[in-house]
Symmetry: C2
Subunit: 291 residues, 2 copies
Amino acid sequence: MRELRQITVVGMGLLGTSISLTVSRLSGGLKATGYSHRASTRQKARKLSVADEIFDNICESVSEADLVILATPVRTFESIFQKIAGSLKDGCIVTDVGSTKVLPHRWAEKHLGKNVFYVGSHPIAGSEKRGLEFARDDLFVGSLCILTRKKGTNEKAFSTVRRFWKKLGCSVSMMSPAMHDRIFSRVSHLPHIAAAALLNASDTKELKYCGKGFIDTSRVASGPPNIWTDIFISNADNSAQAIDKMVNELLKLKRAIKANNQAQIERLLKKARQRRKELINYKIKSRELLE
Amino acid sequence: MRELRQITVVGMGLLGTSISLTVSRLSGGLKATGYSHRASTRQKARKLSVADEIFDNICESVSEADLVILATPVRTFESIFQKIAGSLKDGCIVTDVGSTKVLPHRWAEKHLGKNVFYVGSHPIAGSEKRGLEFARDDLFVGSLCILTRKKGTNEKAFSTVRRFWKKLGCSVSMMSPAMHDRIFSRVSHLPHIAAAALLNASDTKELKYCGKGFIDTSRVASGPPNIWTDIFISNADNSAQAIDKMVNELLKLKRAIKANNQAQIERLLKKARQRRKELINYKIKSRELLE
């Protein structure tokens, strides 16, 4: 990554700080700087030395950057693009770690200058834990990172971003923002929606009788509500369609149960079990899961 | 448990065999015998010495028993009651480990003689793994066991069954079969149905992009399809109602997402998160989960 001399992370939460920590660990002359809009976070970041420099001003923070990485909620991207557009160097690359990709691409096209290159990134890493304190310099090791590009995406900028994530330890996949948002509404947003619906469908007083099944099925509902609201809102149509698909499958099972149709229930459960088996085998083969 | 001299477990799967193993470990003069309708299972059971005696004939197996425990699928209970009714001693207690309780009570009333006492049991223990090979003599330690009783339930028999499960390491709760089936359709059946629906709503090719959230949310769908079909069928009305509640919650979230109603999405997610927090705190306090 000789083409990069300075990166700036905007947003020093779990993901943003894990990026700066990983870059610091790898060293190699790449300067890692950061910005947070919260004074208390900046103070913590300086105290814990999670980056080479922490800026108080967002425009100053990006003015010398070769790569700017937005690690704030997706809903903030448009105003951040507007704010920083005038301060970016010619040739600067902008990316992000947002969980949806159609809107960030649209906002980048609208607000970033033509000598600034945007590439979308979505590292599939994280934790239920939030904040700088939980950041780790190996968070991305072994993770998948999806990069998104459109027809107009700059080839060289794309390659640079890809090399950057690989350096951090990710394996990298590439797809269009539209495809990304469709797929992730089903494999990522839907489990969160299902977990929340499962809990909200339960009676608090009855929950004490639940076993490990309920506890695992509902785990992701412990994630931060504001972040997930942001994700659903920024991928609303796909999220709504994913919910419809799930409702459809639930009603299929319900009809089979009401009709006492044992063969059909068993067929649906077998199909689900087989899919999960294939999934687990794939994740073991790709070393995302241990055997 | 001086009142018990011999128990007979009908069905030598994971749960049944774990009962005989635990009784053997506790010793105290209580004889643990078993029956399986499969010759290969009986052979394995004898080879592994999982009980004091394994019978080839179900009627012989129960004829000297003070406590008979059905550990076969719920759908088999009615015919087993019919088969063994004539062979049970006066004063014999019959229970089971089935996941639904209304039908077992009904069938017991219909088929067991008036000098035989039925009590329903549902130990909340188990594993995705099946079969005698995975049985453990500590499977019930720290587990909850729900006992069910109706107006006509014999007081002494109920106390004996309660002491039995406590001896095995369970903490015991009591409720009516109707209440049991209503509660467990929501806290146990529904997560399984949701996990299956989530998988069936996904595209196999897309699943490779999923993260740990999807993997946890779908875990219970790896359970045995025939056992779960049996459970849903034997608690059909409650299962259907539980599905309706979940569908209702999913559609609430969908409407909020379509309407771009951020406050409502966040409210629903916060409610779910708060419920899970209370649940986890309860499970830690009751020592079902470690801190």
